[in-house]
């Protein structure tokens, strides 16, 4: 909503829990939003928008920023004409992620200012502020969110903070500002540090930080959703809530710490604020290491404040997710299990193949890794094992970062060959049924160009390409995999059957897109 109210010209991103809903909401309000094949491309498109003098927002989950890190680190030192907000949605506690990385570390590493809202109202206001800061200093701004900010709803008053509407998009040649060849880049780095020093001074003076005065006995420095837990548990305490957590308002922090008897930092995840404060010579207390893991909540914050290190109560485990009845992935895993395959897996619904009853996926690291890891296994294992290795990847994940893996497979084929299975269920199922370049429909489900996997594989020089519906022909599917494994050649088997949850919608979109528009 804030992006819409700020006149953001384009929103880009790749779906990922808990960030997915941002672009969908922006599009629903009437904003122009589009899914990119991956986060790197999404950020690069957004950079182009900013170079044109228009405003952009790019959204991703925390691990998505790893993919987009390459452009992020260098764009930081370019000169942007339009506001660029990079949204990173972190998942402490890993409700739906493969790691618990704390993306606050990216801000100092890349040299980009960072804002951390704590609720829906602040998410609105800080997005507007991010545009403002981005345009004032011509730098991208990282808006760092966490699950309990993203998947939380609280009352939002619209228009509480505003920026002037964007000017018209326009381009003037200015090579030193936008070309990062070493000659220009060398001059740009000190300029970036100078900008960041200015932002730090501004943050100390006028940044979106909040001081809640209280008795001098206890002072708490906090940010993001942790602030709300602090207010819940210690409503009387003195609190310095930091809204802009890079560059930090170190003078304010110093003064605050000096004004209280006990100064403790309450933060979720890594000891980012604690380490930064200590490096600046500010004596603060941190949390015990055990609270680095998982989300914070009121009870855990109370324990930290009270120095209670007794074991935390364990909650009963919930029911794990499972493949839907009739899910096409089921027959795929049945076949791979029957054939005693070594399965190099990837990220999506089909990651559940690692759970009972199948337990048939052997590796999972990051998006697209199934292909490279499968090749590495093939190169290294003894022949008896090597010929049982299969890489398995979903349709959206294949487009995201599997295509380069397929190129590697063609370029450096293992002696035993390799088998890649693309699970094409016609949607990005795991994150809630988003479109991707393989569906041939845009974020708002309109017809567009379509990447056809079998044609792509053949174009790259793979001779054994098969498309099979594993629901209609499970025996044929298993037989094909078996035949491919027996040959020391490269094979791509596309398992094609629409996701059962998406099927009704896919048919509806197809019908709408077939209707003549005029």
């Amino acid at each position: 909503m804030a992006a819409f109210d700020c006149g953001v010209g384009l929103g880009t991103g790749y779906p990922g829990t808990p960030s997915t809903e941002i672009l969908e909401s922006f599009a629903a309000l009437g904003g122009r939003a589009q899914w990119s094949p991956n986060e790197k491309v999404a950020l690069e498109v957004a950079i182009g928008v900013a170079f044109a003098g228009a405003r952009s927002i790019v959204t991703m989950k925390h691990v998505g920023l790893n993919v987009a890190a390459d452009p992020l680190f260098t764009v930081a030192s370019t000169r942007l004409d339009g506001g660029l907000v990079v949204v990173s949605a972190d998942d402490p506690g890993m409700a739906s992620s493969q790691n618990e990385q704390d993306n606050r570390r990216y801000a100092p590493a890349a040299g980009v200012p960072m804002l951390e809202p704590s609720d829906s109202q602040e998410a609105y206001e800080f997005t507007v502020r991010a545009i403002e800061i981005s345009e004032r200093w011509h730098v991208p701004v990282l808006l760092r969110l966490t699950t309990r900010v993203c998947h939380a709803k609280s009352i939002v008053r619209r228009g509480t903070v505003t920026v002037p509407p964007p000017g018209p998009a326009h381009f003037e040649h200015d090579l030193p500002a936008r070309v990062r060849i070493p000659a220009y880049a060398r001059a740009a780095h000190p300029q970036l540090r100078k900008k960041l020093a200015e932002v730090a001074a501004w943050n100390d003076e006028a940044g979106p930080n909040q001081l809640l005065p209280g008795p001098a006995k206890l002072g708490i420095i906090t940010s993001g959703v942790s602030f709300l837990h602090v207010r819940e548990v210690a409503p009387e305490a003195s609190v310095l809530k930091i809204g802009m957590t890079y560059p930090l308002p170190l003078e304010r922090m110093k003064a605050f710490a000096a004004s209280v008897e006990r100064c403790i930092v309450i933060e979720e995840g890594d000891p980012y604020l604690v380490e930064s404060a200590r490096a600046a010579g500010i004596a603060v207390e941190g949390k015990p290491e055990s609270f680095r893991f998982g989300e914070l909540n009121s009870a855990r914050v109370r324990r930290i404040l009270e120095g209670d290190n007794t074991p935390e109560p364990k909650r009963a485990a919930g029911k794990p997710p499972a493949f839907c009845p009739g899910c096409p992935h089921r027959n795929v895993y049945t076949a791979l299990k029957n054939l005693d395959c070594i399965v190099s897996g990837d990220i999506g619904c089909y990651s559940m193949g690692a759970l009972p009853p199948f337990e048939a996926m052997d590796t999972m690291v990051c998006m697209g890794a199934s292909i490279g890891m499968g090749l590495g296994l093939r190169y290294s294992l003894p022949p008896e094992q090597a010929k049982r290795v299969v890489s398995i990847i979903g349709d959206s994940t294949f487009v995201h970062s599997g295509i380069t893996g397929l190129v590697e497979m063609v370029y450096n084929p293992p002696a035993s060959g390799h088998v890649l299975v693309i699970l094409d269920n016609g949607t990005t199922a795991m994150t809630g049924l988003q479109e991707h370049p393989g569906t041939g429909r845009t974020l708002v489900h309109a017809k567009t160009g379509k990447v056809v996997f079998e044609e792509l594989a053949r174009t790259l020089g793979i001779h054994n390409v098969y498309v099979i519906d594993p629901t209609a022909e499970p025996e044929k599917f298993q037989q094909t995999i078996q035949d491919c494994l027996a040959r020391p050649e490269l094979s791509v088997v596309i398992s094609r059957h629409n996701c059962l949850l998406a099927n009704r919608w896919i048919r509806e979109y197809e019908r709408c897109n077939e209707q003549p528009t005029d």
Binding site: S96, E232, N297, P320, P321, A322
Partner: protein
Amino acid sequence: MSSQPINAANSKPTNVVVAGLGGQGVLKASDILADVAFSAGLDVKKSELHGMSQRGGSVSSDVRFGQRVFSPMVPEGEADFLLVIAADQVPVNAWALRPGGVLIDASMIDESSLPNKRSINVALLGMLSRHLQFPVEAWTAAIGRNLPEKLHEANLQAFSMGRALERR
């Protein structure tokens, strides 16, 4: 059973945890409840974990409302009400309920008596509504705002059935 007073003097928020399995309408029920509280002019916060929920895994949603709400999460053992749409999920979520808190779960409703089995989430809201001082019209309006029109009748009936079951 006593009803939860909601007035300016009551500074502590009311805490409700809605739980069940993916696809049962946990988030929809919590949206309706939050909407009712919002319409009454209260501060409302809700939060949930639902990354994997579509695949039939456990899902729960915290709803808090009152004059002022800070954390979006219901603190452990402080839920005034626990609504569980899948009866077998009661033990998994029992940590949330405070001593003396009210448990409302699917086993208290005869599913076959509902016009549409999928409306059980709204039927449980009907039972909850007896404990909260929001007018029936506010619930009816929120159900209307949060569900597509063709589902209104079945859900309003389910709500009334739930409300009739729970005698004060």
